[in-house]
Amino acid sequence: MRVALFVTCVNDAVFPSTGVATVRLLERLGVTVDFPAAQSCCGQPQFNTGYRAQTEPLVRRTVRAFEGYEHVVTPSGSCAAMVRHHYPSFGTEAGALAPRVYELTEFLVDVLGVTDVGAYFPHRVTYHPSCHGLRLLGLGERPRRLLEAVKGLELVELPGAEECCGFGGTFAVKNPDVSAAMGADKITNALSTGAEVLCGADNSCLLHVGGMLRRQDAPLRALHLAEILASTEEEPWT
């Protein structure tokens, strides 16, 4: 099977390791991965901030970049949700991309039909289900099932898991105090689990929570799910 990787702008610029991990994981599972270089940003920040007209060029670019691909895989719940939920309002052509975009865990579980991806990650991990993956995509138990099948991984329940971490795109700068208060509560809950790794499937949320963790020198690091699933005994992910 051949898929297009929609790496997302945040991962391209700030978290390339998540993109590399996604490629490594998919190739290990026998998938041929393409990276259409014309891709950029899905337009979510512009759209959610109220700039629809400024979103349009990015929607058109994204649609063109993934023309001809039946499966477009992205390691981001919120970018997948942007395409699936909001692209149809930008016209038929944009809407046609919506059903072809898969968030990584959807692609693994629903399309490839795997939950044990042969990963090895001997750490104590807690999982934060980001809001758009949880509520807009309905990812449900998919990420948890994938994590539970990872050899050596101890999955611990995150209290208040379904509460927003406080990122919310431009919300984090428009309402910095509320955003930080939400992030602080998320971190308190994550630390209470005694986990070494706070795992998520959306690096934009991890940019916020991870940034707060580093500021506090907390004994916990944020890591994208793809990087855990890419890790094997032969090639451990660091």
């Binding site: 400024q54 809001c131 428009k174």
Partner: protein, 474 residues
């Protein structure tokens, strides 16, 4: 715009104070989490919840599509049952009508059932200025009124007060409004409730005029409905000689069969009860039973403006249950007062800017008072897609180009241009990566400071993904 990135100081600044108040945050956290969990259990008991939610949405949408027809039908039914219907285009007109109606009775005091519509129009303040005392009789509204405070929650307006504060308010203020608090009043709930009961009983028995809102109005029979927990509403609706109800025009439902849906979804969503303790219904007047004069003031006050907006109109489905407040992570931290309106929380963030417009700083800031997490939409019993309306209202605010938004628009346009030119984007990414050793953990300047006050900036990678791909896979 003092100090904030994009020029909406109102909500963010008010919220900052609340976030810094650890007692308030603890009170709100405890209260919202308790009721949120109870609601989830009450809703989970019904295996047809999704169908009820869909039915509620469809009934409201159909009614709103034909609102003119149902309002005229309602007027006819109320009139036929012995009531009088008044139409108020805005708050000033509604206040004037109510004042004249009270004046005509010769009374200088009224008792009130808890009502959002009368708070929205500032009726108590208006009556006071006209020499008419309006007494709130809902326990929490009484606490707010005696404390010269503002409500901070739709269902639980004194949610920001704890027992000790309530005891102090009762001790200090009850005497100047009527029967004083009993000697040695403690902060136990039973004693506080008894003090309120004694204080209010005097007012119920004396009042000749009652003022209410309504949760629903049934067009086919002209029946108004109030659901409540304490029974104070029943007292106000039955004991006075004159009853005046001020109700938003969106509260009409066509038939009793339609009402049946909401009488299931409202209590479970608001108080997490299968059924609320008191459901009062009245139809015009009845000889020898209850008020002998009934006036219905139908209030527009911005509702038809909201109705004209194809996306925003869904806010008019709201049945004021407060479920969205109780699950909202922003409300939980910011508290209700930060929303600058009697309608706080997610519903307030989409309703207030539609009712009042977006000209003021606070109103223009409300659509941004959300991380778009979607928890509100998930619990809404009439399926209002609050995040969708928030984004829609952000478009409106951004399009109006108020101060701060010019800078924002320029930044957004620049970001779109760069993102639409991958060659430039890649060059920028490479430049950022190569200079990463020089990057500080904190940054000055608009936006960057708001970010880096609380969080480290990410450590940029040695190269962007697209360069890794080019080197390793092509």
């Amino acid at each position: 715009m003092s100090g904030t990135f994009l020029g909406m100081p109102a909500f963010p600044e008010a919220a900052r104070k609340a976030v810094g108040d650890s007692t308030l945050r603890a009170n709100l956290r405890h209260a919202t989490h308790t009721i949120r969990d109870k609601r989830a259990r009450a809703v989970a008991e019904l295996d047809d919840w999704a169908a009820l939610r869909e039915a509620g949405k469809l009934i409201k949408d159909r009614t709103l599509r034909h609102l003119d027809t149902y309002l005229l039908q309602l007027e006819e039914s109320v009139t036929a049952a012995g009531g009088t219907v008044h139409w108020a285009a805005d708050a000033a007109e509604a206040n004037r009508i109510v004042t004249e109606l009270v004046r005509a009775t010769g009374q200088t005091e009224v008792v009130k059932v808890k009502s959002m519509a009368t708070q929205e129009i500032g009726l108590n303040e208006h009556l006071e200025a006209e020499g008419i005392a309006a007494y709130e009789t809902d326990l929490a509204e009484l606490i707010v009124q005696l404390g010269e405070d503002r409500p901070s929650h739709i269902l639980v307006p004194a949610i920001h007060r704890n027992r000790g504060e309530i005891r102090d308010i009762f001790r200090e203020k009850m005497g100047s409004w009527g029967r004083p608090a009993p000697e040695g009043l403690s902060d136990t709930p039973a004693e506080l409730a008894e003090a309120a009961r004694l204080h209010l009983r005097e007012k119920f028995l004396r009042a000749k005029v009652g003022i209410s809102g309504a949760n629903f109005m049934v067009a086919e029979t002209g029946t108004l409905v109030v659901v409540e927990s304490e029974g104070n509403g029943r007292m106000c609706l039955t004991l006075p000689e004159t009853l005046i109800s001020v109700v938003g025009i969106e509260k009409v439902v066509p038939t009793w069969r339609d009402l049946e849906v909401f009488l299931q979804t409202l209590p479970r969503s608001s108080t997490a009860e299968r059924m609320n303790p008191y459901t009062s219904t009245w139809t015009g007047t009845t000889d020898g039973d209850g008020p002998s004069a009934f006036h219905l003031v139908l209030l527009d006050n911005g509702r038809t403006d909201a109705l004209a907006d194809e996306v925003g109109r869904q806010a008019l489905r709201c049945i004021r249950c407060s479920a969205c407040l109780n699950v909202c992570p922003v409300y939980e931290r910011a508290g209700g007062h930060a929303y600058g309106s009697v309608y706080p929380g997610p519903i307030g963030a989409i309703l207030t800017p539609q009712l009042r417009g977006t000209a003021s700083g606070i109103d223009a800031s409300l659509p941004y008072a959300s991380s778009l997490c979607g928890a509100c939409y998930e619990v809404c019993p009439v399926a209002i897609d609050i995040p969708e309306v928030l984004v829609h209202l952000r478009e409106r605010v951004a399009g109006e180009g108020g101060k701060g938004h010019r800078l924002e628009r320029a930044a957004i346009e620049a970001s779109t241009w760069v993102l639409d030119h991958p060659g430039v984007l890649a060059a920028g990414e490479r430049l950022a990566s190569r200079t990463r050793a020089l990057h500080p953990r904190r940054l000055p300047g608009p936006g960057a400071r708001q970010w880096s006050d609380h969080r480290d900036l990410p450590e940029l990678p040695a190269e962007p993904f697209r360069d890794w791909w080019r080197k390793n896979r092509t």
